[in-house]
Every structure is written in structure tokens, then in C-alpha cells.
């Protein structure tokens, strides 16, 4: 337990191997007798002795050689808060040496202001950089502020080498547009434009055909059956909060189902596992009943809160299902492990079950135990499909444009890649890499990837 006592006394709790800005140590030579003995030599002799001793003793107690070529450059595409520094290692920083001569590198930084001389302060939280490191990103800087840097190598005793310094101050620049994301912006705009185009078409009255989605055709049937049987319906908007777009999508479907419920005069219950979802569901249902012309039939208890605890919520839902035997169960939202418990329980009470989620891991269970499952994109299409409004249907066409774009990118990419492999063409390989990492990526890509085969 108590491993290192020394570090506590040395640095007041923060373990630190080195002891501050140590001067090169002089050993224990400076005794008065020795000095007197040396002083007995002629002056030239004294000098020669000093040089000889100095050269001989250098490897024993001298500071390591300094690193060289310190450079600083702005980090691109950032908010002006970082600079990259690189240098050539100290010649003494050699892993073959035992014991090693360089224990690390110490970086000092100074803010350059017109008023006063730059004051260098040690950075990186009083921790030295490990040996063999020749690049570091200094973060947390002030945008546009000029900085100077000074780098020294230190040995295990904390002796500092001579400093490598920048000759010019550098300033972290603010980038107002992340250029790595320019292609991604283009893709986003293209897909959005596709969706907007078809919304406009729909508004102009162009008839848009959409294929039938079986699960959504069944919604009417489910509500109708619940009305006939005089039983309630259960709507579960998943177990996540409103910051999950699946929950939002589930609630938009609830708006349509709520309206049908109001028209058929059926009963619906929406127990939620999040307070915000409950509040939104209440707003939604109230509006749906209003839209159906039956505001009097709405009451707040249609949606109520159970608990945020995943399986506490599940315990309630399964109990509710076997007791109340709802005629239809809708599971539309973000689901996790509970998907199978819910779907199987619903199945055992013979309810019509319609599920939809974008959690790929849960789709198998819904597919196995529900009557209809809206898979991924179909789930997001549900609200538009059920609304039947032309401009909403237009968005589905727009999504198809996105799929075409995706397919096109894959096709072009695969053909190029195949050609690059088959014909061994570096130019084609460059093009493929550009497509994969620049067009379809948003991160900074090293030059090597774009210049292969060298």
C-alpha cells in the first residue's frame, strides 16, 4: 500500500522524480584544502587542470546535450487553442545507453506581450515528457496570442541541458471552418437538398408514389381490433430520453396513432421511463385528440411516468400486459435488452404487436416475436407514411435520393479500388484513398495515406 514515501516529502504529495531547475552538480570537490592545493599551481596550470578535469568528468556529472531544431506550428482546423511542437532528439537520448543520459524533456512557454519581457513557465502540469518523444501538442492556449517556447533535456538528477528555443513567436490561429469536413458538408447538403426537393414537388401537387409498408398498413387494423374488443392499447416509446432521435420518431408516430385512437374512440396508455418523454407524450396526445375533434376525450393519465430504471420499467410493463391484456402493443423507440421480454410477453397474451427500432441488436427479437417489425429506416418513415400528407411523403423520396447517392459512392469506389488492385495503378489507388478518407472522412488524414506506394 505505502509504496513511495520519498515522493511525498520531496514534492508535497505530487510525486515528481526531478527536483526543479537543478544547476549542474559539482560533487563534493569543493573542500577548502583542495582549493588551496590547486591555488598553489601557476595560472596556466590551473586552467589546464580545470579543462582536463572538466572533459574527463563530463560524462559523470554534466547535463545532457540539448535537443535541437525546435519548431512550432498551428494545429489546423481547431478553435485556435493548440500548437504542435517538434524537435530533434538530444544526441544523448539514446536507448542503448545504460543508464540513460536523458530522463525526459521539459517544455517552457512564455506569452509574448508588448508590455513586458516574456516570462517562461514550465508547462504540462510539472510533468516532463518521456525520452524518445519528439513531438507534442500544447493545448489550452489563448487564440491569437503569440507564444515562445523553450525546450531542454533533463537527466535523472534533474539537470537541464542548454535550451532549444523558437526564434519567432507563434500564434494559434482560429479556424472558422473545419476544412476536413468540407466534403461531409457537401454530402449533408446534397441529402438535405434531395429531401427538400421532393417536399417542394409534393407542395406543387406532383403525385408521389410510395410502396406499401406492411407494418404500417397494420396500424389501422390494430386500432380497429382494440376498439372492437373494447380493450386498451399499449404504446411504449422505448427506454431512452428525448435526446435520442428514436424516441422523437416514436413520439411522432404516437401522434398518428393517437389521432386514430381518438377517431375510433379506443383507449391508449403510454407508460414512459423518462419524465420528459411523458411530458412530450402528453402534449402530443392532447394535440392529436384536438386534431381529431375530440379534446374532451383526452385526459392526462393516458401517459404516465413509471421509473427511469430499465428493468423496473420492464417489471411494470410485463405486469400491466398480463393483467390488462391490451389488444395491441406498439413498441416504437430505442430498445435494449428488454425488447425480447416485452415482445414475448405481448405475444403470450395474443396482442397484435408492431415494433420499430433502429437498434440493430434488438431487431432480431422483435422480428422473432412481433407481428410486424419496422426495420431501421422503415421506423423513421412511419410518421410520414401514416400522416399521408404529400410533403411528408416527399421526405421518403428524398431518403431514396440519399440511398442512390450512397450506392453511387460505393459503386464508384469499388470499381476504382478493383482497378487499382487489378492494374496495379498508383493513381487509381490515390483516387480511392481520397474518396475513402477525404470525401467520406472528417478527420485529419496523414499525407502518407493519400500518397501510397512510396
Amino acid at each position: 500500500m505505502v509504496k513511495r514515501w520519498k515522493s511525498v516529502t520531496a514534492a508535497g504529495g505530487r510525486g515528481r522524480l526531478t527536483g526543479g531547475r537543478g544547476e549542474p552538480a559539482m560533487g563534493s570537490w569543493g573542500t577548502p584544502g583542495l582549493v588551496a592545493w590547486v591555488q598553489g599551481f601557476p595560472v596556466v596550470g590551473q586552467l589546464v587542470l580545470l579543462v582536463v578535469l572538466g572533459v574527463m568528468a563530463q560524462p559523470l556529472w554534466g547535463a545532457p546535450a540539448s535537443p535541437r531544431g525546435l519548431r512550432a506550428r498551428d494545429v489546423r482546423n481547431d478553435a485556435g487553442r493548440a500548437l504542435t511542437l517538434d524537435w530533434q532528439l538530444s544526441p544523448d537520448d539514446d536507448v542503448r545507453l545504460d543508464p540513460p543520459r536523458v530522463a525526459g524533456y521539459r517544455l517552457y512557454r512564455a506569452e509574448v506581450t508588448p508590455e513586458e519581457r516574456p516570462r517562461f513557465e514550465r508547462i504540462r502540469d510539472e510533468q516532463d515528457l518521456p525520452p524518445q518523444v519528439d513531438e507534442v501538442v500544447d493545448e489550452g492556449l489563448t487564440p491569437h496570442q503569440p507564444y515562445l517556447y523553450r525546450l531542454v533535456a533533463v537527466d535523472a538528477e534533474g539537470r537541464e541541458s542548454a535550451a532549444a528555443e523558437l526564434d519567432q513567436p507563434v500564434r494559434p490561429e482560429v479556424w472558422y471552418f473545419d476544412r476536413n469536413k468540407r466534403w461531409f458538408l457537401a454530402i449533408t447538403l446534397l441529402i438535405s437538398a434531395g429531401i427538400l426537393f421532393f417536399i417542394r414537388q409534393a407542395r406543387r401537387g406532383v403525385e408521389l408514389k410510395i410502396r406499401k409498408i406492411a407494418g404500417l398498413e397494420a396500424v389501422d387494423e390494430a386500432v380497429g381490433r382494440a376498439t372492437e374488443m373494447g380493450r386498451s392499447m399499449l404504446f411504449v416509446p422505448g427506454i431512452q430520453d428525448m435526446n435520442n432521435i428514436q424516441t422523437v420518431a416514436g413520439i411522432t408516430v404516437l401522434a398518428r396513432i393517437g389521432r386514430l385512437t381518438a377517431e375510433y374512440d379506443a383507449r391508449i396508455e403510454v407508460p414512459t421511463s423518462r419524465s420528459l418523454v411523458m411530458t412530450t407524450a402528453r402534449e402530443t396526445l392532447e394535440s392529436s385528440y384536438l386534431a381529431a375533434g375530440r379534446p374532451d376525450a383526452y385526459h392526462e393519465d393516458m401517459s404516465y411516468y413509471i421509473t427511469d430504471e430499465q428493468f423496473g420499467y420492464v417489471a411494470y410493463l410485463t405486469g400491466y400486459m398480463v393483467r390488462e391484456k391490451p389488444a395491441a402493443c406498439f413498441f416504437l423507440g430505442a430498445f435494449f435488452a428488454e425488447s425480447l421480454i416485452l415482445a414475448e410477453t405481448g405475444n403470450s397474451i395474443g396482442a397484435i404487436q408492431i415494433a420499430g427500432t433502429a437498434e440493430p441488436a434488438q431487431l432480431p427479437f422483435f422480428v422473432a416475436a412481433c407481428d410486424y417489425t419496422l426495420i431501421g429506416e422503415e421506423f423513421f418513415a412511419a410518421s410520414a407514411y401514416l400522416s399521408g400528407e404529400p410533403e411528408q411523403l416527399g421526405t421518403l423520396k428524398g431518403q431514396d435520393v440519399g440511398k442512390l447517392l450512397g450506392g453511387l459512392l460505393i459503386a464508384v469506389g469499388c470499381l476504382l479500388f478493383t482497378y487499382a488492385h487489378g492494374a496495379d495503378s498508383p493513381a487509381a489507388q490515390r483516387a480511392v484513398n481520397y474518396l475513402r478518407f477525404q470525401v467520406l472522412g472528417t478527420e485529419d488524414i496523414p499525407e502518407e495515406i493519400l500518397e501510397p506506394g512510396e
Partner: protein, 231 residues
């Protein structure tokens, strides 16, 4: 006013989030927004609590069937809430023994810890473990597969289940090395690496487009079902 302003709020908030992604100095706003959301969600729990109280108090006052269980819920709720909010039985931090509120709300041995450990954990963990039975019954249902798709699903599940276990290696161990792809582990590998990968990717691409269109509809105020329709 009741409808228009919320739509403007949603549109502006959403567009700022989109723009912030491309503008480095604003990128932190996305994190801030998440934090704000979390605060609002935590505050909204008061509404959830009110809903619990209203629902169960009504059941009790109406003497509805099973109202006793509502009483259990209410008492459990009230006790846990007061024990937790007032940090009952929670000692202060070691360095600040004079500040009674500094202790961790769920210190080992405190009443809230006891409630978590001996009430919440066993029930929720057991609920979770019921999945083992439900998996079995779902597999059984799929076993009586009605159509080709169900057969495909179950067949794949069967192969992967065997292929990932020792049984798979044992059953097809006699297949020569050069036909390794035909062994159960080999088939599992192909299923996971080819079809599962492809299926997942297509689902993901579709989901991204679905989300893009759902989000756009909200930002443009076309889908305002969460605020009521225009009809």
C-alpha cells in the same frame, strides 16, 4: 404564439447544433447542449414524481382493485426519496468532518445503499435474467417457422451458436484443412464477416437517412406532431 415560438426555438437550436459541427470555435457548444439537456431531464423528474403521486393516490382513494400495491409503491417511493435527498446515514468526507453534506450520497452502509443493494439490484437483475427463459421460448416459436425467412433466421442462429462453441469444432473437426470454410466455425466466420457485416451496414445507412429526414422535418417545422398538427 403558442405554436410558432416553439417551432422557431426548435429550428434555431437545431441549426446551431448543425453549424457548430463545422465551425471549430463552436464545437464545444454541442457538449454544452448535451449537458443542458441532462439538467432539464433531471429537473423534469419532478414532473415524473408528480405523475407517480397522482396516479397512485387516485388508485388508493378510488379503492381500485390492487390499491394496496399502489400504497407499497408510494411508501417505497417516499422513503427512498427522503433517505436519499437528506443523505440519511451518510458520513461527511474525511477531510471535512464539520460539513455534514459533503459525503457521497450512496456510501456503503448507508440506508440508500441498502435499498439499492437489497431491493433494486435483486429485482432488476432477476428481471434481466428472465431473458434466458424468453430467449428459449422465442427460439421455440421461431422453430415452428412458418416461412422461409424465419427458417433463414433460425438456421443462421443455429449455425452461429454451434460455430462459436466447442461443439462446432468437434462436430466438423474431420473436414480437411483445405475445406475449412465448410466447417461450422468457418461458416460462422463467413456469416459474421460477410452477411452480418453487409446487413448491419445497410441498416446503418438506412437509419442515417431516416434520421436525417426526421431531423430535417423537425428543423423545418414540417413535422410538428409533438406540438400538435395543423389540422
Amino acid at each position: 404564439m403558442k405554436r410558432t415560438i416553439p417551432i422557431i426555438i426548435a429550428a434555431v437550436a437545431g441549426l446551431v447544433m448543425v453549424v457548430a459541427f463545422f465551425v471549430p470555435p463552436l464545437i464545444d457548444w454541442r457538449e454544452t447542449a448535451e449537458e443542458w439537456f441532462n439538467i432539464l431531464a433531471a429537473v423534469a423528474m419532478i414532473l415524473g414524481g408528480a405523475s407517480i403521486l397522482a396516479m397512485h393516490l387516485r388508485r388508493i382513494s378510488d379503492q381500485k382493485r390492487g390499491w394496496g400495491f399502489s400504497l407499497v409503491t408510494l411508501i417505497a417511493f417516499a422513503i427512498t426519496l427522503s433517505v436519499g435527498l437528506f443523505k440519511v446515514g451518510v458520513p461527511p468526507m474525511a477531510e471535512y468532518p464539520d460539513r455534514p453534506w459533503t459525503g457521497e450520497y450512496i456510501t456503503h452502509g448507508a440506508p440508500l445503499w441498502w435499498i439499492f443493494q437489497y431491493l433494486i439490484v435483486p429485482i432488476t437483475a432477476t428481471m434481466f435474467s428472465l431473458l434466458a427463459f424468453f430467449v428459449a421460448s422465442a427460439a421455440f416459436r421461431a422453430f415452428r417457422a412458418k416461412n422461409a425467412e424465419a427458417v433463414l433466421l433460425l438456421g443462421t442462429a443455429f449455425i452461429v451458436l454451434l460455430g462459436r462453441s466447442y461443439a462446432g469444432t468437434l462436430l466438423t473437426g474431420w473436414v480437411p484443412e483445405s475445406y475449412a470454410a465448410l466447417t461450422l466455425p468457418g461458416m460462422t466466420d463467413t456469416i459474421m464477416g460477410v452477411f452480418n457485416t453487409a446487413g448491419q451496414r445497410a441498416i446503418m445507412i438506412g437509419i442515417a437517412l431516416g434520421i436525417a429526414s426526421t431531423s430535417l422535418k423537425i428543423l423545418l417545422g414540417i413535422d410538428r406532431s409533438y406540438l400538435g398538427n395543423r389540422h
